[in-house]
């Protein structure tokens, strides 16, 4: 049913992504799909890396550390954005097209006060604007 699963990851909050990562790996095994881990970073230094190249290397290492479905290879693709807080949804939509993913499995957090006022729900925005299935895991 699905051949390529895109999993957006925030390398600075991996502890909150356990359920989403496990779900994506279970689905990959079930459908014999490969997983593409996608992450968006700023061009400025972040808590994860000094620059986008180092960030990409760390995402690569993360992808290699996750189990792949039998006979499949997981991969990673990192994106830079001039203003990640705003450009996240747009960049992830572009990533869906570029990776050729037919399913997105995405961890989301419980909305806080800031989310209620300013609506920064990347998951729901992605589901609203993407042509592929989006599985939000809370």
């Amino acid at each position: 049913m699905f051949s390529r699963i895109m999993v957006p990851v925030d390398l600075s909050h991996l502890d909150q992504l356990d359920k989403a990562l496990t779900t994506s790996e279970d689905l990959a095994r079930t459908f014999g799909a490969e997983i593409v881990y996608v992450s968006v970073t700023a061009e400025t230094p972040t808590a994860i890396a000094h620059n986008p190249t180092e960030f990409a290397q760390k995402l690569d290492a993360f992808a290699a550390s996750r189990p792949a479905a039998p006979g499949k290879t997981n991969s990673a693709k990192s994106y830079t954005a001039h203003d990640p807080a705003i450009d996240m949804d747009k960049t992830l939509l572009k990533a869906i097209e570029e990776t050729g993913a037919d399913l997105v499995v995405m961890g989301t957090h419980k909305p806080g006060i800031a989310d209620r006022f300013w609506g920064s729900h990347h998951g729901s925005d992605l589901a609203s604007h993407s042509g592929v299935s989006v599985f939000l895991v809370r």
Partner: protein, 544 residues
């Protein structure tokens, strides 16, 4: 295998090439707290935010008595430390010129193989809109006329032997041509190399320590060579809090000036009453527009607005150039450049000045204002300048904006001076500061349309400044994180508007200027230290 792409579809230059990363135990955001889903630096956000709230409340509570306090503070700082502001300005220019001609100019921001994120047009539009903005509209006509008039009036000496006139240098009593040249030289001096050198030093320092050294994009990072790991503690907190204050009050000054001019223009066109109430409504409406821009982000908001600004400013200046005394203005351009070059050294002299009203009331005030703006403009320029070499960066940030300022002042100021000197029209000379531009336009065809364009330009500059300022303050108060929740930018954009309103009610333009000068003074000391850190940081960096 990792594949990397930028959001606009171009590949990230990989590898970036060797840059001298500073290894530190500090992790970006490690001091941040996350109340209510926000992501803010502790204690920079709390101290900055609470101080600003307290400032707004106190200013509004004591609005009748606090105005003179602000004015006295401004006069004290500009009259006591005028030499310091002028000396600091000169040092910044010399540092920039040294960076252009020495091998340090070969260092590339972002590492040896980094490529620019923005093309020249978008990059230049953003740095120009952030760096000058509303001030060009406000002072474009008023300053040349003021300096011409005071120069033409000559020197006046009071009973105590001190000069009471406001003429620059020795004035040019009764000599129209000499007063014209001196007036334009003095104006261009305030909008030329010096302000842009201040911005260039700050922007380059921030960019170097973020993109090449891998430190957080926040003002304290510039001081790592001096403080070492202590920069993540209180010395750094103080620097960042100072930068927030300087940015906020510098911006509020600009917003107050913009509101006054937009109000004057709307009164001229539509009869809208001039007064604090109208200006408060304007600030509120324009802050609302800025919030929309904030929510559209760097590319969808500030960049688009900056490009709109640049196009509209070009249309206005070309209209005035060709609808006004075209031949005279073309002649003036060369003369003004010559006058600026001739008077640059005497005008820059920090010691033994006899024209104290001019050097303290104008130059020292401007330098303090530019310095108070520098964390904001510097950080914004830094954020969009990755991939440029130091030489390319400093040359572009110093020379191109100076050239545009010369053109702008020559066209706007030159037209008003031509009306005054050759046509005997004194409307612009006699009008209030914020009305001078519109009075000048009355003598040109299509007055209504040109005036409307000017008002729109003031408002769009206003929105751009508020938006980019919020972006910068948010980054500083989020410990260098550029992906903090958008609600934080909304908070700062709102408070910039509130500070501008509080200062307008509390003491008008004088209060705004006083706060800009007050925050500019300690930051000038910070920037002089930053020059040393910048050169030290560049010397450790691999060159192209």
């Amino acid at each position: 295998m990792t594949d990397s792409s930028s959001s606009d579809g171009e590949a990230i230059p990989a590898p970036e090439g060797p840059a001298n990363i500073i290894e530190t135990d500090y992790e970006i955001g490690q001091n941040n707290v996350q109340p209510f889903g926000l992501d803010i630096h502790n204690p920079v956000f709390a101290i900055s935010g609470l101080s600003v709230v307290a400032f707004v409340i106190i200013t509004l509570a004591f609005q009748n008595s606090i105005g003179p306090v602000f004015t006295s503070l401004r006069d004290f700082l500009t009259s006591t430390f005028d030499w310091f502001f002028l000396l600091a300005g000169n040092i910044f220019v010399l540092v920039c010129l040294a960076l252009i001609v020495t091998p340090l100019g070969k260092v590339r921001i972002g590492g040896r193989d980094a490529t620019p994120d923005y093309g020249y047009a978008g990059w230049f539009a953003m740095l120009f809109a952030a760096g000058m903005g509303i001030g060009l509209m406000f002072y474009g006509v008023s300053e040349p006329i003021s300096h011409y008039s005071t120069s033409f009036g000559g020197i006046a000496v009071g009973e105590n032997g001190m000069r009471t006139d406001w003429a620059p240098l020795g004035g040019a009593e009764g000599d129209e041509a000499a007063a014209h040249a001196l007036g334009m030289a003095a104006t261009i001096f305030h909008w030329g190399l010096h302000p842009w050198a201040i911005y260039a030093v700050v922007a380059l320092s921030l960019a170097l320590f973020a993109y090449n050294k891998g430190l957080p994009l926040t003002v304290r990072s510039m001081f790592y060579p001096i403080f070492g790991e202590r920069v993540w503690g209180w010395p750094g907190h103080v620097i960042d809090i100072l930068a927030v204050f300087a940015t906020l009050f510098g911006l509020a000054t600009s917003l107050g000036v913009g509101a006054q001019q937009a109000n004057a223009g709307l009164n001229y066109l539509f009869g809208i009453e001039i007064g604090t109430t109208s200006q408060i409504v304007l600030i509120a409406l324009i802050t609302g527009a800025a919030l929309v821009s904030v929510l559209r982000g760097l590319d969808g908001g500030v960049k688009v607005l900056s490009e709109v600004n640049l196009i509209m400013a070009a249309v206005l200046v070309l209209f005035i150039l060709f609808a006004g005394p075209t031949t005279t203005l073309f002649g003036d351009l060369a003369e003004n450049i010559g006058a600026y070059a001739t008077e640059l050294v005497p005008l820059s002299n920090p010691f033994g000045r006899e024209d104290t009203n001019f050097s303290q009331g104008w130059t020292a005030f401007y330098w303090a204002w530019w310095i108070s703006w520098s964390p904001f403009v510097g950080m914004f320029i830094a954020r969009v300048s990755r991939g440029r070499t130091v030489r390319e960066f400093v040359t572009c940030v110093l020379i191109i904006p100076t050239a545009v300022s010369i053109l702008w002042m020559t066209v706007l100021g030159g037209t008003a001076l031509d009306q005054l000197i050759h046509q005997g029209f004194t409307g612009a000379q006699d009008a209030a500061l914020e009305l001078k531009l519109f009075e000048m336009l009355t003598q040109l065809p299509w007055t209504w349309i040109a005036s409307l364009l000017s008002i729109v330009l003031v408002i769009v500059f206003f929105v751009t400044s508020s938006d980019s300022g919020s972006l910068v303050i948010d980054t500083i108060t989020a410990g260098g994180k550029v992906d903090a929740p958008v609600a934080q930018r909304v908070f700062w954009a709102t408070f910039e508007g509130l500070v501008a309103i509080a200062l307008l009610i509390g003491g008008g333009l004088g209060a705004l200027q006083a706060m800009a000068v007050s925050t500019g003074f300690p930051f000038a000391i910070v920037l002089l230290i930053a020059c040393y850190a910048l050169i030290k940081g560049l010397m450790d960096e691999p060159r192209q």
